[in-house]
Assembly symmetry: C2
Homo-oligomer: 222 residues x 2
DNA sequence: CAGTTATTTGGTCGAACGAACAAAGTAATA
DNA sequence: TATTACTTTGTTCGTTCGACCAAATAACTG
């Protein structure tokens, strides 16, 4: 699912104008918008800043996406596809006839690594989910609700067997996301506190800790 | 520290105007602003909406706080004082010559209960900490940095004795805050997923789970 | 080449924003 | 009552916002 398009900004420092083609411009706009939405939230984001960062004009957002809302949805489609890929890849790495506990561990490590590499999704979710909106309803219905159901179902099975931590289904999703993502979503705060959330050591030890906490029955397999 | 001032909006539905006094107006404005900032972030918040919700005029924000920034700081001063009170109270309840583990447990339960009762602080922190700003620097320097140092120091002592979960100091703070607060900070999302984060059962079981995860050596004491 | 579509550019619109100021009203004091 | 300080009101300023449209340019098709 990873695309090879560059996020490059300015169309050409030279003299003449060049049409970059719909796909290229859309990609650049979405990349810039992800940055802007994750840093300032939907309401605080400026379509003019997004266009400038993408080397485009504000009007092109209307032309290519018909407005701020649809641009935002495209951003979340891409980010959700990325986290799906990341988790799928993490699961692929687990030894083939993998037990359920190994799946849980792979998911946890995948979540931590994805959140550290790509904190924008966590940031946008944390911005959006603080108040009800049509965007939030769309997000849960089309992008995140199903995944939560899958995760909780798997978890409840292991929980009944006493193989994982005693976290109820209601709280599991947000507890796991919060524990694995906040350090990276709020990286600017962590940096001010003297932490480097981009350090591989910090990230891997963080993942180890979460595995130990959520799967107390497992010995570390890293 | 709890104040007895009402958050009441309209100054008087009747005919004549009444001066409510500086303290009352400031309190009402801060209460309304906490609501607005937590729902929409600093940039997305509107001083006109805040004033209206407080039954005041926008100009009174300039008069009483000299602007949006200072109003925001007052909001965070109040919220941080509230969480300090909540934790102090939780610690007070622990049996007098309380061991360090009991302190940790009390803090965890206090964090969960506070986050569920007063999710606005978590929401504002999550809005602010997604990108660097003068506000964020002020926050860490004057309001939250010291508390983190205290918590991490206590934790590292217990960690060296193997009494608590193997979470490194770098990640502990955000892991604990994320695990205990996200469910309530993002309550609108949870509700769309069929969860009721205001349910006392959900809250207490959530706290139990976190205690079990962070203090694997302890038997439940609830 | 002409004809047609795809894309970019530049500008405008009304609305909302935070800040600011002067005038009016209220409360307290002498 | 006269004076003074405190608080509220109404309005305006300049800026930025998202949306929108018409004209210009580029790329493609016959």
């Amino acid at each position: 699912m990873s695309e090879a398009l560059s996020d490059g900004a300015a169309p050409a420092p030279g003299r003449t104008r060049r049409n970059r083609g719909s796909e290229v411009v859309r990609h650049a706009l979405v990349s810039a918008a992800i940055e802007e939405f994750s840093a300032h939230g939907f309401e605080g984001a400026s379509t003019r800043r997004i266009a400038e960062a993408a080397g485009a004009h504000q009007s092109q957002i209307k032309y290519h996406f018909d407005g701020k809302d649809e641009l935002w949805k495209q951003c979340l489609r891409r980010l959700v596809a990325e986290v799906d890929d990341a988790i799928a890849e993490a699961l692929g790495k687990a030894d083939s006839p993998t037990g359920d506990l190994a799946v849980v561990e792979a998911v946890i490590r995948g979540l931590v690594r994805f959140a550290s590499r790509r904190p924008e999704l966590s940031r946008i979710m944390m911005h959006e989910a603080t108040s009800p909106s049509e965007r939030l309803a769309w997000l849960v219905e089309h992008e995140t609700g199903e995944r939560r159901r899958t995760i909780v179902t798997l978890w409840e099975g292991l929980r009944a067997k006493g193989l994982v931590a005693p976290v109820d289904g209601e709280a599991l999703y947000h507890t796991a996301i919060g524990a694995s993502s906040l350090l990276y979503a709020n990286a600017p705060e962590a940096v001010l506190m003297g932490i480097d959330p981009s350090s591989p050591d910090v990230i891997e030890r963080h993942a180890d800790a979460l595995v130990a906490m959520f799967i107390p029955s497992a010995r570390p397999t890293r």
